[in-house]
Symmetry: C2
Subunit: 204 residues, 2 copies
DNA sequence: GTAATAAACGGAGGCACCTCCGCTTTAGTG
DNA sequence: CACTAAAGCGGAGGTGCCTCCGTTTATTAC
């Protein structure tokens, strides 16, 4: 009955993990990568044996690294959130700040779209492992803040909003029912939001 | 995509079900009975094949009657709640009304005790299937009302309480953590409650 | 280089899930 | 009764989960 720090410490928070042997590191990374694509393709209930097979490792290796399905899902999920957040910096460097913001929100919609199918399992995971929720939502809002503040600073969007306003506006994306039109509706929401943000830019 | 009335209509709400063939009825009843004892013995994750085996039917028969584990669990659960509620009438007929009430509450504690291990699965079931929750809690409070009202009527417990007060007082049984002392603590709660109820009986 | 050892690998094997469909039994009908 | 259609049965078989442990490999020490 050891006290679990929080399910799976993990994540690359510095080199706080004891270094894995080179082959182990390789296999582990491979598994996460393959799992991401298999989950995307077949849903969260995809066969773990298929993941191991496609990754070219034995099923035993998969289980050694990820003792339960949830461990694997969590790592994949964190990795994807991380990538989404990292994209904020890259977009900011490559585009005018308002365009960067818009493009990021578009990716956000796509990201949520892929996660919809996984909704029930993710919900279990999120209620089970509360740090997962706070960690990821923290990272996401931080990424968004960076983009919004930059755009406000150079006057491409209005100055009387902040990241939490935008996040709030985006919440419709989460709460809307999972209909066929959902994606289009969400994209329109982003457009609408951007129009509103650009309106009166440079005057606030 | 048919509209499901509510997961599994079931229950013997009159003869609204098309009559099963005699052998089918027999197998079905047998399965429910065996399932109840296997679930009690091994927990909610007990092997369905074991249930079928012990019931002396093929696994195919189990699945025909109960397409998912949840279907089976729900039917077992409803049956048990039903039995608990039916006991109210029997106890009322056999004992002085205050004794009947006390005994019923004691059984209630025992019942909850057996359900504790099944808590997580039951929680899923209860959130998934909302009628299950309202149906059963309705039945339980109805049974309790019968007992409380009888005891108030013939003056064996005080008159200034009703069934919902008692149910409220019993809620500690649900919310208390699942420690080893839980059962004793709950029995003391029942005793305490009965003392309070008997105090000043016949004066309200 | 080589040896020693701890770490990691992989897949066979045991168990459970669930589907599918050929066989059996029941409940009607004459 | 005998016959038949419909209902029900059951278990083989294909798949997935997860554990266990003999074998392989990376690393460290010399």
């Amino acid at each position: 009955m050891a006290v679990e720090p929080s399910a799976i410490a993990e994540t690359k928070t510095a080199a706080e993990e004891k270094p894995l042997r080179a082959d182990a590191r390789r296999n582990r990374d491979r598994l996460v990568e393959v799992a991401a694509s298999v989950f995307a393709e077949r849903g969260i209930d995809a066969s773990l044996e298929e993941i191991a097979r496609r990754a070219g490792v034995g099923i035993g290796t998969l289980y050694r690294h990820f003792p339960t399905r949830e461990h694997l899902v969590e790592v994949v999920y964190r990795r994807e959130v991380e990538a989404l957040c990292a994209a904020a910096g890259e977009l900011a460097a490559k585009h005018p700040s308002d365009v960067a913001l818009e493009e990021w929100m578009r990716r956000f919609v796509d990201y949520i779209a892929t996660k919809r199918g996984l909704a029930t399992s993710l919900r279990i995971l999120l209620t089970t492992n509360s740090t997962l929720f706070s960690d990821t939502s923290g990272r996401v809002s931080q990424a968004l803040r960076q983009l919004v503040e930059a755009a406000v600073a150079d006057g491409t969007i209005r100055g009387d909003v902040d990241a939490s306003d935008v996040l709030h506006a985006l919440s419709g994306i989460y709460s809307a029912p999972d209909t066929p039109e959902w994606r289009d509706r969400s994209r329109r929401l982003v457009k609408l939001l951007m129009d509103g943000l650009r309106f009166g830019a440079g005057k606030g």
